[in-house]
Symmetry: D2
Subunit: 413 residues, 4 copies
C-alpha cells in the first residue's frame, strides 16, 4: 500500500537524485578531457573516474538485471569498480590515470544513460532499492568532495599551477581569540541512532563514558601554525610521535602541504590558484602527525571522537560554509564545527560496539578500512551541503594531507 507519506518521500528522493547527480557534473564543468583523466598519485583518482564510478554504483546495484535496462558498456564494470571484491576484478587503482578512453564526454553520456535508467525505473522501485539509491547519493557526495581535493592535488603538481575557480574572491577570515568550552563528564550517547540516512560505520548508537574536558571553540588558524613553524616545531623530535618524526625527516616536511615561503610571506595553492595564506583562516592540509605535534607544542591534545561528538550535540550541521553549486566557499570563520575543515581526532577508526557490516557487496564499505586510520570529524569547505552529521566518521591514514584537514584543540578539564 502506497501512502501519501511514502509518495512524498519518494518525490523528495527523486529531487535529491537530480540535484546530487547534477552537482557532480557541474563540478566537472571547468575541466578539460585531459584534466578529468589524469591522476596525481595513487591516493587520488581522476575526476572522470569519480564521475563514472558513482554512476557504476547505481548501474551495478540498482539497474543491472532490471527488465529493459541495457548496460551502457559491459567493460565499465572492470574499469570503474573501486573496491568491491564481490563484484569482480577491477583495474589497478594506481593506473587509473592511463584510461584516456572512454573520454570525459563518454563518461558524461554514461551518466545520462544511468540517470535515464533510474528515472524510467523510478515508479517500480521497492523500498530496499530506494535505500540503495539513498546510499548511492551519499556515496556520490563523498566522491564530490574527493573530486575537488584530487583536482586540487593534480593542479598543484603542474608547474604552471592552474586555478580551478580563478575568479573566486578571497574573503578574509576574522581573527578570534581562544575560548575553551567546558563539558561535563559522564555517560553520553554517541553514534547514529538509525533514523535517517547514515553510513554503516556511524552506528550503532552507544553509550560512552567521557571524562570532563574542554574544547576550543575555534579551529587552529594559519597564524597559529606559522607560530609553530617559527618556533621550530618541525625540528623538535620531542613533539612528534615516532612514526611522525620518521615521516617528517624522510619527506623533509616543514610546512602544511603546498605552502611556500617567499618574500611576502607564506602562500598556499588553492582551488583559486596560489594565494597568500590568510592568517585568521583555519589551517588545512595537515597530517595527523602534524596535528598531534602541534597539540603537544600548544600544551593541549586532540579531542577524542566521543568528545567531539558530545560537544556537537545540538549543533546544526547544515550551518557551515559548505560546497554548493557555486563551488566551495572560502573559509570565512573558524567557529563552526562543520564546514571549514575536517578535524583530526585522537581516535583510531575502529568499529563501534555491536557494529556489523551490511550483507553482500554493499557491505564492503567502511568496515574493511577499520585499521591504521584515524577519525576526522566535522566537514570541510568541499563537503556538499546537506551531507554533514555529527555522527559522520571520516578517516584517513595519519600521513595523509591532501584533504581539507585541520584541527581543534582539547584539554582535560
Amino acid at each position: 500500500m502506497t501512502t501519501l507519506a511514502t509518495t512524498r518521500a519518494a518525490d523528495a528522493l527523486l529531487s535529491q537524485f537530480a540535484a546530487v547527480r547534477s552537482l557532480s557534473v557541474s563540478l566537472a564543468d571547468p575541466l578539460s578531457d585531459a584534466d578529468a583523466s589524469a591522476q596525481s598519485m595513487p591516493d587520488a583518482s581522476p575526476a572522470k573516474w569519480h564521475l563514472a564510478h558513482t554512476s557504476w554504483f547505481f548501474e551495478t546495484f540498482v539497474l543491472a538485471g532490471r527488465p529493459g535496462y541495457r548496460l551502457f558498456d559491459d567493460r565499465f564494470n572492470y574499469l570503474f569498480n573501486s573496491y568491491y571484491e564481490a563484484v569482480g576484478a577491477r583495474h589497478a587503482r594506481d593506473r587509473r590515470g592511463l584510461i584516456t578512453r572512454p573520454s570525459l564526454d563518454d563518461v558524461l553520456a554514461y551518466r545520462r544513460h544511468v540517470d535515464a535508467g533510474i528515472e524510467r525505473a523510478w515508479d517500480s522501485l521497492d523500498a530496499a532499492t530506494r535505500t540503495l539509491i539513498e546510499l548511492g547519493l551519499n556515496h556520490e557526495q563523498q566522491h564530490q568532495e574527493l573530486l575537488l581535493t584530487d583536482i586540487l592535488d593534480l593542479f598543484a603538481a603542474n608547474p604552471i599551477e592552474p586555478a580551478l575557480f580563478p575568479s573566486a574572491a578571497a574573503v578574509p577570515a576574522a581573527s578570534r581569540g581562544d575560548i575553551w568550552t567546558a563539558h561535563a563528564g559522564g555517560i553520553h550517547r554517541i553514534g547514529h541512532d538509525g533514523n535517517g540516512f547514515h553510513f554503516d560505520c556511524e552506528g550503532p548508537a552507544h553509550d560512552v563514558l567521557v571524562r570532563p574536558f574542554a574544547l576550543a571553540d575555534r579551529l587552529v588558524s594559519n597564524a597559529d601554525w606559522a607560530a609553530f613553524i617559527a618556533d621550530g616545531g618541525y625540528a623538535d623530535s620531542a613533539l612528534w610521535l615516532s612514526d611522525g618524526w620518521a615521516w617528517v625527516q624522510k619527506q623533509a616536511i616543514a610546512a602544511p602541504l603546498r605552502w611556500q615561503h617567499g618574500d611576502d610571506g607564506w602562500t598556499s595553492f588553492t582551488l583559486s590558484g596560489r594565494r597568500p595564506v590568510d592568517s585568521a583562516a583555519p589551517v588545512t592540509h595537515i597530517s595527523f602527525y602534524e596535528a598531534d605535534a602541534f597539540a603537544s607544542w600548544a600544551g593541549a591534545r586532540l579531542p577524542t571522537e566521543a568528545e567531539w561528538e558530545v560537544a556537537a550535540a545540538g549543533q546544526d550541521a547544515a550551518a557551515g560554509n559548505q560546497l554548493d553549486r557555486s563551488g566551495p566557499a572560502h573559509p570565512i570563520g573558524s567557529a563552526g564545527l562543520f564546514g571549514d575543515c575536517w578535524q583530526w581526532t585522537a581516535s583510531a577508526f575502529l568499529p563501534y560496539p555491536g557494529f556489523r557490516p551490511a550483507e553482500g557487496a554493499v557491505g564492503e564499505y567502511n568496515g574493511k578500512f577499520m585499521n591504521g586510520q584515524m577519525v576526522l570529524k566535522g566537514a570541510s569547505c568541499a563537503t556538499p551541503r546537506g551531507s554533514s552529521r555529527a555522527s559522520v566518521r571520516n578517516f584517513f591514514y595519519p600521513h595523509m594531507r591532501w584533504q581539507f584537514s585541520g584541527l581543534r584543540l582539547a584539554k582535560d578539564a
Copy 2:
C-alpha cells in the same frame, strides 16, 4: 632516615638486579659470537645489542657522571642507544648487524663493568635512582623476551635451521573444548593503579564503560588454525581487512610464520628446531590481520583491551608458563591468560585518559609509539616470570608476527 622497610626494599631490589642481569647472560649462553652479532631483519636486533643496550640504560641513566664511575667505552653511547633522541645520535637501527666489534666477549665485559658500578654505588643511591633501576630491570626483561624471539627469527633464516635449545622435550598440550565465560557490563576500572612497578603507558587507572560480553576460556589452537587454513581462510577476501588482504596477497601469506606443510602434516620452526605442530597448543606467530580474519571466520571477534583486562581481574599473572632460567617453557595448555602467548586485541595502542609521558629522556618510552599499533595482552612463553601484569600493554604493528602472538575469541553477550 633509613627505615627497616626501606632497607628491605633495597635488598630485594638488589637481589632482583642480580637475578635479572644474570638471566640475560644465561640466555646468551648457547650463542656464538656470530650468532650474537647478526640481525635477521630491521625489526629485530642482535642478541649482543640487547645485552649491551640494557647495560647502556643503567650506565647512562644511573652511573654516568657519578663520582668514581668511568665509562666503559665512550663510543657505546652511539652504538647502543635505541631510540632516545634526547641522549644524542645513534647507530641506524637496520645496520646493527654490521657491528661485529665489540665482540660478544667485550659486551659481556661491559655488562660486568656496569654491574660492578651499580653494586659499588648501591648504598649511596637515592630513591629516584632506585626507581630508575627498577625501570631498567623491567626494561631488561622486555629485551630478554626480544632476545629470544630475535634469535628465533635469525635461526629460522638459516637454511640449516639451528636449534637454540635442542634437547627440550615437547610436552603435548591437552585439547580443550570451548567454554565462553560471560562478563557483565557496566563501569569497570582498568589500568595500573600506581602501586608498584608499571610502565608509563599502563596508567592512569581509569573507568571504562563495558557492554556485556563473553570471552573464550582458552586460546585459539593450532588445530583451530589448521581448520581455518583448510577452509580457505587465507583466500577469502571477505574475511580480511583491506590492509590485511593487501598484505596476504603481496607477501603470499598462507599459514602462520614458519609453518611448513610436508608429507606428515604441518611443522613449525621453534627454539628447539623444526617440530611437528602440536594440535592442542595455542597458535602463535600470527599477525593482527590474521587474528582478525580468523575471528571473522569463527563468527566471533577479538576482545577489546578493556574486556580482556576486566576478565583478568583477580587472576594471578604469575601462574602462567613463563620463561625462567631453564629456558622458555613449552606451552602446555591453553587456559591461562598469561604465559602461553600474547593475545591480539581489537584496541589500537593509544594513550589512556590523562596519560602524560615522564619528563626527560626516560620519558621517550612508550608514548612515542601510540600510533598505528595494536595492543596485545597477557604474556608469552618467552616472557620472564614475574614481569606479567593484567595492566601490561604490549603493542606491535598489525603485520608483525615474529613474536609469540596468538589470540583468544570474544563475543557480544
Copy 3:
C-alpha cells in the same frame, strides 16, 4: 654572397621543415586531449610533450632572442626541456603526465607560433642556424617515432585496448627460409663520413678490423620466436645473461611485450588494436636480453654494429617500409635491413674513436648516454621515411622493449 645552390638548399630545407612539422601534427590527429596528455611509464612521454618539446627545440636554439620574436609562453622552457642541463631546470621526467594544461590545442597553437616564427625569420638565417634547423628536424623525426611507440604503450595499458589506426588492414608477411650471406673480413670503414646530416654519435668515420662473418638475410620471425617459447627458451637459465635471467624471473617474462596466448594462439597489441600474431612477420618488442638468449638458443649470435654496417654498405636506406603520412606501414616482409624493426646488436653504445660532443647546449645530445645501453641498427615501421642511414646508432637499455625492436642473426664465418 648567395649562390643559386645555396638558395636551392635553403628552399629544400624549408620544404622539409614544412613536411616534418606537418607530419607530427597529423600523427596526433587521432588523439584526444586526454590521449595526448597521459604518460604510461617514465620511459615514455605524452604525445603532447613530444609535440611541444620538438617546438621548444626550435624556439630555444633558433628563435629565442631574435629581434621581433616573442616567446609563446615563458613557462614552456621549464615544461618542455628534456635533458639539456645547460638550458636550465626542467620538469621531472616521470611527472610529465600530470601537465594537463597547456592543452593539446594550446600545444598545437604553440607549434603554429613557432612555425610562423621560423618562416618569418627564414631569409635572414645564417648557415649555422640552418644547420641547427636541420638538426631540429631530425630530432623531431626521432620524436615522431617515439610518439607512436609511446601512444602504443599507453593504449596497451588501457583495459579496453583502443586502436590508434583501427582500419588498417593487416598484410600477411611472406615466409622465408634462412640464407646466410658471407662477408669477408678485413679493415672496413664505418661511421658517417660527415657529408650530409647525421647525429654526432654517428661519427667520426673510422676503420675497424672485422673478422669474416655471415649475416642472416632475414629478420627473426614471430614463428621463430614461437618455437623458442615452445622449446622452453624463457625457462632455461643457460641461455641467458645473468642480468637477463634476473629480469626474466623478477618480471615473469614469458613472451614478447603484449603477446597473449588464447584459444586461437598468440595475439599481440598493435597500433591497430589486438591482432593475431603474423607468423612470417619479424618479431618485435623484445629486449636485448631476449634477443641475446634467442641467438644462443639458435646456435648463433647477434652481429656487432660494425658487422651490421659493413653488410649494409651500398643498401638503400629509403627502400624500407617506413612511416609516411598514412601512418606506419605494417611489416610486409623481413628481408630489409631498414624499415621493419630496429635490430639489437652485440655492441655497447660507446663513443667512436675521436668522438667529441658539440659545443654548447646542443652538445648535450648523445654523448651523455654512452653508458649501459646497447646499439640497435636499421629502422622500424615507425621510423619516418627519409631519416634512415646505415650509420644511425639507436640505443636503449637492455631491458627495454616498448620500441619496435627485433633481431637478425649472425655467425662467425
Copy 4:
C-alpha cells in the same frame, strides 16, 4: 705415460695448491667469528663465505663422487654455491650474513677436510682434473682479493672503524709529474694466447686495430683528485654521463668512497683504519662514473682495454706491489700498470671475437656477466702476487667502488 715434465708440473701445482689455500686462511687470521660472518651489502660476501665457497668449488668439481671421498656436509652445496645454476638451488646472495652457523671454525675444518681430500687423491688425478684445480686456485685468488675488500667495507660500516692490520706503517708515495708515452697505431694482438692459465674471458687472442694514442705513465693521484673536488668537479653536470650525474645526485656523492674532510684535510678508511690521504698515492675507491668525469675534466679520456693491453705488452705483471702473506702492501708509487689499483677503461665487458663459454657448470663463469659492466685492467694492492696478467679483464658495474679501483689517463695522439 707419466713423463718427468708432467711430474714436475704436478709437483708445482701441488705446491701452489698448498700456498694458495694457506694464504686464504692467513688472511682470515685477524677475524673473529662475527667479523667473518657479517655481510655489509649485497655486493659483498662474508669472509666465511669466501673461505667456504672456494672450498666448495674443489669439493664439487673435483672431489664429489670420487671413491673414498665423503662430503663434509651435504647442506653446504646449498649454502656455498654462488651462481652456478647447473649445480642446483642456492642461498640468496643478499642473505649470506644470516648464516651464523656453520661457524668460522666449522668452515676452517671444512677447508682442512677438502685439502686432505685433494692431497689424498692427488696421484690419481687426470690432466683434466688438474686443469680444474688450477682454475679453482685462480678462482680462490680472486676471492682472496674480495675477502679483503669486503672486510674493508664491513669495517667501514662500523662506527668504531676497526683496523684489519692496525700496525701497518704507511709508506708515503713519491710524487711524480705527468709523462705521456706515445704508442703507434696499427694492428695489435691482444687477449690470452692460450698457453698457461687464463680465465675464459681473456681469450681468444685476436687482432685489434688501434689508432695512435698516448698513455699517462702514472696513475691519477689523490692530489689530482683533491684538485678535481676543489674545482667543483662533482657539481658540474657537463662533466658527467647522464647515468653518472643521476647517481651523484641521488647518492649525494662528493668524494671517493670513505673519504672524510676534517680540520686536517682529507682522511680515508683503510685496512689499517682511518688515515690521512696520501697526496702522491693513486686515488682508489672511485666508480667508473667518477673516473670518466675526471678524465673529461682533465681534458683527456680513459684508455680502451686494447690500448691498455698494447701498452702493457712486455711489462712484468709480477713487478707490482701486490698482496703477499704479510698483507696488502701500501701503494708506494704510481708508475706500475700492476699492483696499485685496478684501472677503469672505456670498454664495456663484452665477449672477444670467437669467445665460447666452457661446457658444463664450470662454464657459468664470466660469459654470464657480459652485460652492463665495464672492464678494469691491471691489479690492485689486494691482488695476490702471481695472479696478474696483461690479459686479465676485471669488470664491475659503473657505480661500484668498494674495490681498489682507480684510473690512468689516455689521449688521442
